[in-house]
């Protein structure tokens, strides 16, 4: 299948109500690299994985590190849990954006029945002066019934307060295992669509992996497609319609790969990236250096205006 041109979409900002528009405009154009791009710093690995991700750079265990990094390296926003936001954000409020991540869980039990309950609320985000709310939706989990119902309450509160909703759309759960797992184009594409139809303003996706063995297990026509990773990303972006898409980096990879991937994401219609371990598993100076390169890649590869 040959890569097609991206379907032009009406600007997201044009269709959003004023509260969401104001906050999202700030993220897209005021904080961070700007020009309609998004560069998020996620620091919720401490609950999702435990402190083990901090060992490569012991400084990173101190939440101060990430807040300082977000401000000094000029990230668009930092995404963190309520405990961080309550005890560290006050000193940085207004100097960078804040995405309050309002659900999460440890990875100690298996992911077969994935579901993250709320540990904070949209009202907490409003009170703290956050610019957006983050919610993890496990697409395809056997517990999707609880997840969708919970997300409804979040989406409604976001509508009520004019708070942009960033959905971490993760294919997950035991039923996916027989359909190629959580990283196929099929799975990521479904997740992108689901998040948009459920009301996301920004969809956070993991990179789709092209793996013929796994793709064979996906439903038609995905099991017969022969697409590049870039094409897969482009289609996922399209599945999200007017919602903006940011992609994550996952565990640490090579710098060139990281920058190449960043460019590919933007050229496939993505609106930005959310890079955590790839950045803060370095000392502050190296971290700031790589963020500068990422920022410059973002603003020089813009395909889509939000």
């Amino acid at each position: 299948m040959a890569p097609a041109t991206l379907t032009p979409q009406k600007s997201l900002l044009d269709v959003l109500p004023p509260g969401k528009r104001a906050r999202l405009h700030r993220l897209l154009f005021e904080y961070g690299p700007g020009q309609g791009t998004l560069l998020f710093l996620p620091i919720d690995q401490g609950i999702e994985h435990g402190p083990r991700d901090f060992f490569p750079n012991p400084d990173s265990k101190d939440p101060e590190y990430q807040f300082r990094l977000a401000v000094e390296a000029n990230y668009t926003a930092i995404a963190c849990q309520i405990g961080f936001a309550t005890k560290y954000w006050p000193d940085y409020a207004g100097r960078t954006g804040l995405i309050l991540k309002i659900n999460g869980k440890t990875d100690i039990p298996s992911g077969a029945q994935s579901f993250s309950t709320l540990n904070a609320s949209v009202e907490d985000a409003v009170r703290l002066g956050a610019d957006a709310v983050g919610y993890t939706l496990y697409v395809g989990s056997p517990r999707q019934d609880q997840d969708l119902l919970q997300m409804k309450t979040v989406r409604e509160d976001c509508d009520r307060y004019g708070m942009p909703l960033v959905v971490w759309a993760y294919p997950r759960g035991e039923a996916l295992d027989e359909k190629g797992g959580q990283s196929t184009f099929y799975a990521i594409d479904y997740a992108a669509r689901m998040a948009m139809e459920m009301g996301a303003d920004i969809v956070k996706l993991n990179m789709p992996k092209i793996d013929p063995e796994k793709d064979k297990l996906t439903p038609e026509p995905y099991n017969e497609l022969d697409v590049t990773q870039e094409e897969a990303i482009r289609q996922c972006v399209e599945s999200a319609g007017r919602a903006l898409v940011v992609l994550s980096g996952g565990s640490r990879i090579d710098d060139d790969e990281l920058l190449g991937q960043t460019r590919m994401i933007m050229e496939a219609g993505g609106s930005g990236v959310i890079y955590g371990r790839n950045v803060w598993q370095r000392d502050l100076d190296s971290a700031k250096e790589i963020v500068e390169q990422i920022s410059s890649t973002l603003t020089t590869s813009i395909l889509r205006t939000p």
Copy 2:
């Protein structure tokens, strides 16, 4: 069993309270083909099946496509989820009808324990200016207890706001497998009745399939009946009493079959059809053409006045 005449029913509009009557009158007589018929365009396949249904016509992945189609081909209404309604409906508001579908789920986990939780509310529908609310009820699912309780809250809100309630009445769940499955006359007939008794104004059914092997497994007297598909539809329409019935097309079929089926539905007392993939898996011009034929079939085969 010989097909009987349809039992005359008092007009549904006459028994509805004013809010429901106003909105339903609009759907039956103002939007779409009119004359008391209903022609709905469903676009929730992106969450129910994932984006895979869009591959035959890549344009169809963009929600704009369906909204444009609904308006230009003169559908009665478009039925979609909250994300669509929030981000695309504003540009089309007032130019076609809107049925806000307020529950749904992915098809990744098995359907053995089917239950779709709410992802939006009747209040959302009111706020968006929708003409009706759509709810999927899985009749016979082991989780019917949760489903019926949830539907109670929806039905009550519909009563409160005068919002017509369209019930997607789907026989489903592991217990049905030993009773012939979800497509028998028995199963569809039960679903039609259930939806009406639970308070549906319009019941959306799948076509009952006559299959002697499966019918043998259904309870008495269904296992001994020898009815045509049309007779089965007529009986399902009767089971729904004063509630109106629309039938769906499912995956794509031949045009002649589609139009023949449309006529049969109307002559069996149906009030219209809900055709998605059979229409939007074509390019816009062909889609508009077939809709014109469907509309004309609807209005020339009316048996029942609502």
Copy 3:
């Protein structure tokens, strides 16, 4: 064990608060055969069994049929679900009594874990001008915890609005299977007591069946009793204390048996009967005829004054 005289009970009406008293007085003395008797027409088989019960008399599929029957044959009240009450009752309001049945379920999944969630509310009953509310309690089900908690809310609302509470007290659930099943004197007696202690004003019971094989499996002293069906009914009536008891007919039986059973119920202290299929599986004229005979049997066999 020799049949004993019925313990005299204080009149139920005397202990009820005014709202309940007014409504129940209407049912006992104004509608139907009167003189303190109750003759209820149940039409919830469409959801509890599906439309299959309507085949013996196709006219019975149309809800109009039962409403007309209730009025023309002079039933005390019709008992139905919210969909019926909303779309058909308006035309008959005030001409017969209405019991709004507010929970129910399909019989597609097995009854091992029986529990019927609410699909309507006591407030719906008030709004519709109903004379009583009907609730199915599955006595002994593994899910009794949810059932009793739910019934609490119904009982409280009945207290709040002065609405009589009719409890369909059905022994049910997998744990009963090893104790003789749902039709033994033990099971029905327990159900009668449970309903009264939980706050029922009227208890609807199925006929206890005397079956030595099954009775052997019941707990002491039921496994050693040697009682007639009439004596069993009398004891069940006593277990319900001041609550009134009506018994149901179940699937269709012979007319003489039906009338004999009716007399036996009254002579054992019952306050009336609830006959559906035994009546409406006939054409309207025959139905009215048999109801006349039942009514006359009721009023000529009164033992207990309510």
Copy 4:
């Protein structure tokens, strides 16, 4: 282990807020044998066991019997469910005490996962003029999580309305089976403590049974103790701290044993007894006679002043 002296406890009445104090004072000193003793008549066997307990004395099936007994034999209070209280208590209100038992269940399903949901509320108790509320807590059940959360709401309402809280503290559930079962000193002692720490004002316990075979299975140091039943009771009373303790009789035992047990309970620091079947499984005159003996035993064996 040698029996120790009972640790002196501050009077419970002195630490209770005025509403609880007023009501409890009434039970301890005004109704029943008085002098700080408690004599409760429980009549919830009809739901906990079914009507089978009434066969030894058929009169006992009529709730009138127990109310009359409570008044004529001068019990401190009758403990019953909402249905009883609503339909029979009005005639006896003010002439004896009332403990409204607000949860309960049938014994048809197994007790492996014991949990009794609420069927009435503290507000019901207030409205009916009850003197206390009764709640069954299944200590150690796998569903303790639900039980404790539910009891929280009851305790809070009791605090709000100044209503004394009587906790039926029953060790129960499949996990206990491997630890000696529900009647060991270990199990009863744990239950006594749990009830007090959760906020009980009065704790209702079953008699601990000394059984070396079962005691061996209990945790240290219970598996090595060698205590008499009286010493076990005394320790359970101590575990309940300032909360008062009443012990129950269970199924019917010999009169001498009953009176001896009563004396032992009082001498071990108990505040009274709750005797049902041992009393009402007799005719009214014999019942009154034995109650007189029990009362006299209570008031002549007082060790602890409340």
Copy 5:
């Protein structure tokens, strides 16, 4: 890995809102040994283990014992359940601090699915004049979804009322068994982090145990670390960021070990200890003596100022 210097953290008091600050200041500087240290007396073993912990010192069964001990030995605060606080705290109110522990459970069922529901509320704590609220979070339990959601409501109420939140952060649940169990550095470190990110002001941890066999089963890099217990504690303290950390003693150990451990905790950055059985399993005089030594150790080993 060589022990590193503790990362300096901004004072917790400086970032807390006024209500939390006032109450926490009282605990750190007014009650108990002061100078920014915390010495808590836990007395919830009666529900968590049953009365078995009281046998070594029978006096300890009487709640008076612990309250008297807390006041006379000059503890910072006593931590107990609602029943204790309601019936014993009034006599001691204002003379020591109170941490109302608002969830808990028996240890009768297995801990595979650990989850402690609420038995009291933050409002109870406010009403009783408590200085903080205690909550047990089972980190890694298969029921973490319910736990986190419940803790959200507690955290929100603490924010609303300015009540400090002390989290008993316990790694627990069947999924941990394959990862080295609940006492590894990995498990305790994860728990410390989780509690802080979820909003704890003070984190209560069990001592991490260094056990190469179990550590081998933990995830990378924990399975390869070679740290001392003190270094492990220091890292756990760092994982808790600005939240203060207190460590518990568990079952009784030798006095020298107890004091040595106390010093180690303080030198690793801990803010104090929570010692129950190690103290109250002695007679009052010995208990007061050891508390004096503990207090002196605390105040002479302070590393971190809160």
